[in-house]
Symmetry: C2
Subunit: 187 residues, 2 copies
Amino acid sequence: MNYCSECGKSVDKRIPEGDDRPRYICDHCNIIHYQNPRVVVGCLITAGDKILMCRRAIEPRKNYWTLPAGFMENGETMLQGALRESQEEACAEVKGETLYRLFDIPHINQVYVFYRGELKDGAFAAGPESLEVQLFDESEIPWKDIAFPVVTDLLTEYLDDRKKGVFPVRVDQPSPLWAEHTGWNKR
Amino acid sequence: MNYCSECGKSVDKRIPEGDDRPRYICDHCNIIHYQNPRVVVGCLITAGDKILMCRRAIEPRKNYWTLPAGFMENGETMLQGALRESQEEACAEVKGETLYRLFDIPHINQVYVFYRGELKDGAFAAGPESLEVQLFDESEIPWKDIAFPVVTDLLTEYLDDRKKGVFPVRVDQPSPLWAEHTGWNKR
């Protein structure tokens, strides 16, 4: 940030009085331009034993597999956002949706909020941001071609929870599972 | 938003190609300035049967009672933010913390994420944003002087959950409880 988005004059970066960290300040408007984490909302959609996954048509991680998810928009609830992304990326309607998993990704200033639910009417298709959308059995999940660490974690935890028949809501940072599955740490 | 925060030139508000809602666009930098909801993180802190509350020293809702909570900062996890706010507003350390309640407040583009935990070492005090900090029994909670609807909801749900001895993680929008408790709907 170099300029005030309200008046267009240069901003200064300093610690405001009574604060403890540097902020972008416009001394003309007398505004502090706070910068805060963004929320990514998504949905783990199942059809019987199968899980719906999308192969990304866009960067980052084009060609890799993910779950329907994207940035939460102003004016919507987290669930509305997750259902919107399911519709946009996988042309999928969801039923029986429930909160499932939160992830903190502090180094990129993001929070992920995943719901889980069932595919309604069995219909799905690739939206504009997906190359293909597919239902995978546990044995078919493309572990080595997963787009993001949170997806690997979420799938691993879900499959484990499904065996136990309990689905607690959890929150913490992504584990190193993704690196193990993809061999990312060996590059 | 009137100006690009990167180059200081005027932004245009229009629907970008492939998008479905208006965004602020800088045609000089070729950047879309997305605007997304903010996350408020907080903590319901208990000491035995009592609940720790803070009387606000700042607007909005100065003089009204709330729980330690505030905007999540870049570079921190949700829990780190909730514990930071507990320290800043109530000089309170927390132990045994666990995720408890999410609220959507789409009309002000906010998400609330509350943890619950126990007061560590029994120590607390008013931080700079609090006029006073106090432990309340269920019978002492100042229902008519609560700062925000989410606080009324959270306390009501917590007291109910405590009677049942189960504390499920829930997410949905604030209920009209606050209006009922404060008489806000009668003004």
